[in-house]
């Protein structure tokens, strides 16, 4: 995918996606700075670069996903590394303050931002740090970002992967693939909430539907049920739990398979269905609850995605979003669900950079716009 940049914007090059729960930041670190350029570089720009690239954690909650770094990327005539940083939206004001403290506004760079927060925090950026945001539509950015990363690849490897033999959860193998013949695809973005898009071409897409049972629900319910505080904790617990103690299965109701309708005894008939009984409530662990929450939310998303794929007559379903970050339970479950319920007609695909595509899309927009700040 060739990028048309008529005029190179001033550094630093950022792309921001301010979501409901997380802020995703993409930062381009130029590695081809000439001595001349370095001399002319203003102090605060240098300090920003140093701060971002020499740390992998920022404050208490900011994280740089080093494993996702794209190295030696040439873009708009410059070569460098693309860094992926995230922090909770709850820390937004602190971030803006930092921007003020580092005199960001004096850098004359355009700050491209997408996601709901671009609208919600627009005023705060202006009043607190004298920064003007270039607001972009989150779905546009999502798609453009996705297409770009897929085209440049992940440090020589494909960005996209799927699971072979998804029905065998223990032994299913992760396999990479190319997204050639990308279109049409059903794109399911699982963030705090979920958006389902049907993408027909680079510029032709529509939002089919969405659901409010997303990553935010998983985390929110988990925190309430188990007392955990972070996504990582929740996933950790879920990986150790057994949801069949919490959920009521078909066999619990029918004593076996419900043959008439082709429902296996092991299928979940009612999520959390055992929890109305005090005895059962007392016998399950927090890990079981976390697992049940994860499975319930994941299966529901899978169900909706499948129905949409069938209604829109699309065979390829791509799942993105930070709900899937370090979440192999969900990715495998989604792969299985798509395969099973469609009897092999649908395929679930995943991308390594999960939730960062919006930020990448915003970053790309920066390079396209040739305004002189």
């Amino acid at each position: 995918m060739k990028l048309k940049c008529s005029k190179k914007p001033a550094f630093p090059w950022f792309g921001m996606d301010i979501g409901g729960t997380l802020v995703k930041l993409v930062y381009f670190e130029p590695k081809d700075i000439t001595a001349e350029e370095e001399q002319e570089e203003v102090e605060n720009l240098k300090s920003i670069r140093r701060y971002l690239t020499s740390n992998t954690a920022y404050g208490k909650t900011g994280v740089r996903d080093v494993h996702l770094e794209l190295r030696n990327l040439t873009i708009c005539g410059r070569t460098g590394n693309l860094h992926f940083i995230r922090f909770p939206t709850a820390g937004m004001h602190r971030f803006i303050q930092m921007g003020r403290d580092k005199h960001f506004s004096s850098l004359h760079t355009t700050l491209c931002a997408t996601g709901g927060g671009a609208y919600k925090f627009e005023n705060d950026f202006r009043t607190m740090a004298d920064l003007e945001l270039l607001k972009l539509d989150e779905l546009d950015c999502l798609i453009q970002g996705l297409l770009y990363i897929d085209s440049v690849g992940f440090n020589g490897h494909p960005e996209c992967y799927y699971f072979e033999n998804p029905s065998d959860t223990q032994n299913c193998i992760k396999r990479s693939c190319c997204l050639d013949n990308l279109f049409p695809m059903l794109l399911v973005n699982i963030g705090s909430g979920v958006s389902v898009l049907a993408v027909y071409s680079k510029d032709n897409y529509k939002r089919v539907t969405g659901t409010s049972l997303g990553g935010g629900t998983f985390l929110g319910l988990c925190c309430l049920l188990t007392g955990c505080e972070t996504f990582e904790e929740a996933l950790e617990m879920a990986s150790k739990g057994d949801s069949t103690n919490v959920d009521k299965l078909v066999k619990d109701i029918y004593g076996g398979d419900y043959q008439r309708f082709g429902l296996q005894g092991s299928a979940v008939a009612s999520s959390f269905g055992h929890m109305m009984s005090k005895e059962k409530r007392d016998s399950i662990s927090k890990e079981d609850l976390a697992r049940a929450t994860l499975v319930t939310i994941t299966n529901n998303i899978g169900s909706i995605a499948r129905m949409c794929a069938v209604n829109e007559k699309i065979e390829r379903v791509v799942f993105v979003g930070n709900f899937l970050r370090i979440n192999t339970v969900s990715t495998k479950l989604l792969a299985y669900a798509m395969d099973f319920w469609s009897k092999g007609q649908l395929r679930a695909l995943f991308l390594e950079h999960e939730g960062y595509f919006g930020a990448v899309g915003a970053f790309l927009e920066l390079l396209k716009s040739s305004e002189d700040a």
């Binding site: 979501g19 409901g20 729960t21 909770p88 939206t89 996601g115 709901g116 927060g117 609208y119 919600k120 539509d137 779905l139 705090s192 909430g193 939002r207 539907t209 969405g210 659901t211 409010s212 049972l213 997303g214 990553g215 935010g216 629900t217 985390l219 929110g220 319910l221 988990c222 309430l224 049920l225 919490v246 959920d247 009521k248 109701i253 008439r260 309708f261 299928a267 979940v268 008939a269 009612s270 999520s271 959390f272 269905g273 055992h274 929890m275 109305m276 009984s277 005090k278 059962k280 409530r281 609850l289 319930t296 299966n299 529901n300 169900s303 909706i304 129905m307 949409c308 069938v310 209604n311």
Partner: protein
């Protein structure tokens, strides 16, 4: 479904726990046959077929062709009314909590006389758990029937036989319940059954249906998660909490992310972007009510969304919701209605069923009664014996709240003839015979309910008078009064209890109550007297009307029609006058007509009305 309040409570004193004596709940047991039972997670529905013997007034006219002209002074009656005993086939359905199963079974066994029946059809998740108990107590073999099959058969039956069975729920409209007319062709439709889990069934014909999908997020999830989050154990309590909560404290809305609406996608700021989204990021405690509400929204919206996806795929516009999750609870019906409306952009409406709790039992019963071929008949609801739609809404007055959830009944009488639409109707589905809808028009409703209550004394007197020779007539008439008054009170608080409320249905209800206590037609003697008189003048009046000019004739006919109706209806003003002046004649009635501007004509049940129009001025 897990059973709550187990049957292990042992022998249960019926008197303490129920508000009605058992023989008023399990009626007509002596001749009961064809039993069926549907045992759910917490409620049991029992069905049986029985016969009821009651009096019916039959009219037989005498042959008058021989007489050339009717003399005014001819004293012979023109027709005869005889009271005969008739047997009506009646279906009984009773709903009660599982805790009472054992005691109810004992009671039935004690009163069952008919020994023909050897089998009881059973369905529902609890059927296999209670199999042994039923077989032991009733000495009947339990024959299990597939739950889905029973549900669909039951659904088809109620949609075809009970008028205004399906309704649309509109929370903020004048009339919350908008009842739907019976469509001659009910197929195809989508049935979403929300029990512990959700089953989505496409029904194409009486025998062709398929479970096309489902969801594990259903009533069991609401109950289970609700119990975990709020420490509330009872389902109804959870619903009550939900009705008082503010979900916006717990859910992340579009405006929480965008600071407003997501305009380009048409997503308003108040839409839920992430259910329970705020519970991850804030430290504070959430109230039980708020969490319950969020949970209700989350589940209802999810089910609604899936329903829409399936409806779209199969091109279905009729979507019915059933299952214990709904139980006529306003908040649930509202959230589901909203969800369907949202996801189909208003193209499809969520439909609910008045008798959704009974579908399984009805279906199981029909499976067992296949020999009798119940579908070839038409069936009508017996208002006297049916408890009507009971909501578990917290706004219910305390009396009814105690009652609901204990015992609920539905009775269906087999009609003599199969009902068909009048072939002359241009569009049977849109035809509404009633000019006033009392479920919508509160003022008229108050007027008519009061009217009927006020007239009750008079009716009771007439009833007693019509059976002067029978000693217990007074007692029965009193029971009739209690029963009908109770019905009127129920309708005052819940106008939608039996579907659309109309003057016609109030009359039907009265008739059913009268029949209950063996008063087939208290007015029969009076009607006979008046009809005799009217018929004698008939030929004369027809002749005199024919001699009028065309225009005059139309006026006379219309005035006569109106006056006759006023006369017959016993509208309050007229009945007051009649009480005070028994000789009030037709002319006077016509004169009174000038003052009655707002009166509207309605349907009349009496077969001989038209003849009365031509009463002369005597």
């Amino acid at each position: 479904m897990a059973l709550s309040g187990g049957a292990d409570r042992g022998s249960h004193s019926m008197d303490k726990s129920i508000t009605l004596p058992p023989d008023e709940i399990f009626r007509n047991l002596e001749n009961a046959k064809r039993f069926a039972i549907d045992i759910g997670g917490s409620l049991t529905k029992l069905a049986y077929y029985s016969t009821v013997q009651h009096k019916v007034a039959k009219v037989r006219s005498f042959d008058h062709k021989a007489k050339v002209s009717l003399q005014e002074t001819d004293g012979d009656p023109l027709y005869e009314i005889s009271v005969q005993e008739e047997i009506t086939a009646r279906l009984h359905f009773i709903k009660f909590e599982n805790a009472y199963i054992e005691t109810c079974l004992d009671f039935i066994k004690d009163h069952l006389v008919n020994t023909e029946t050897k089998v009881i059809k059973a369905t529902g998740g609890g059927a296999h758990k209670f199999k042994d108990l039923i077989e032991k107590k009733l000495k009947l073999k339990v024959d299990k029937e597939d739950e889905m099959t029973c549900l669909i058969k039951g659904c088809n039956f109620v949609l075809k036989n009970i008028p205004h069975e399906a309704f649309v729920y509109a929370r903020h409209a004048d009339s919350e319940f908008r009842f739907q007319n019976t469509h001659p062709d009910i197929f195809p439709y989508l049935l979403i059954n929300i029990g512990s889990g959700v089953s989505i069934v496409k029904v194409e014909s009486e025998d062709k249906f398929e479970r096309i999908g489902g969801s594990s997020i259903g009533g069991g999830t609401f109950w289970g998660l609700g119990a975990l989050l709020t420490k509330t154990k009872r389902f109804d309590e959870l619903l009550q909490l939900a009705s008082k909560g503010q979900h916006t404290n717990v859910d992340m809305l579009v405006k929480d992310i965008y600071g407003g609406a997501y305009g380009s996608l048409g997503l308003t700021g108040d839409l839920i972007a992430s259910s329970f989204g705020k519970s991850a990021t804030t430290d504070k405690e959430f109230s039980k009510e708020d969490m319950a509400k969020s949970l209700l929204h989350m589940i209802s919206n999810d089910i609604g969304q899936l329903a829409c996806l399936y409806a779209k795929l199969h091109n279905l516009t009729r979507v019915y919701f059933g299952g214990f999750f709904i139980r006529g609870h306003p908040v649930t019906m509202h959230t589901i209605t909203y969800s369907i409306n949202f996801f189909t952009k208003g193209e499809v409406q969520a439909l609910f069923l008045r008798h959704e709790g009974y579908l399984g039992a009805i279906g199981a019963f029909l499976k067992g009664a296949e020999e009798d071929n119940p579908n070839q008949y038409s069936w009508g609801e017996n208002y006297a014996g049916s408890s009507g739609l009971m909501s578990v809404s917290p706004e219910l007055n305390p009396v009814q709240r105690a009652r609901s959830g204990t015992f609920d009944m539905l009775e269906m009488d087999r009609l003599e003839r199969q009902l068909v639409n009048l072939p002359l109707l241009q569009d049977p589905t849109s035809y509404i015979p009633d000019t006033v809808d009392l479920t919508e028009d509160a003022l008229s409703r108050d007027y008519w309910l009061f009217c009927f209550e006020d007239a009750l004394d008079g009716v009771v007197k007439r009833a007693v008078a019509s059976q002067k020779d029978q000693p217990e007539a007074v007692e029965r008439a009193e029971k009739f009064r209690q029963k009908y008054r109770h019905k009127l009170q129920t309708l005052r608080h819940q106008p939608f209890a039996y579907g659309s409320l109309t003057v016609r249905s109030l009359l039907d209800t009265r008739e059913h109550c009268l029949n209950e206590f063996n008063f087939p037609d208290p007015y029969s003697k009076i009607k006979q007297k008046e009809n005799d008189m009217a018929l004698k003048y008939y030929l004369k009046v027809v002749k005199s009307v024919e001699e009028l000019s065309w225009e005059q004739r139309q006026f006379t006919l219309v005035k006569g029609l109106l006056a006759g109706n006023v006369f017959d209806w016993g509208a309050k003003a007229v009945s007051d006058v009649l009480e005070s002046d028994p000789d009030f004649g037709f002319e006077q009635a016509k004169q009174q007509l000038q003052g009655m501007k707002t009166f509207k004509l309605s349907h009349n049940n009496d077969k001989i009305l038209n003849h009365k129009l031509f009463l002369t001025d005597k």
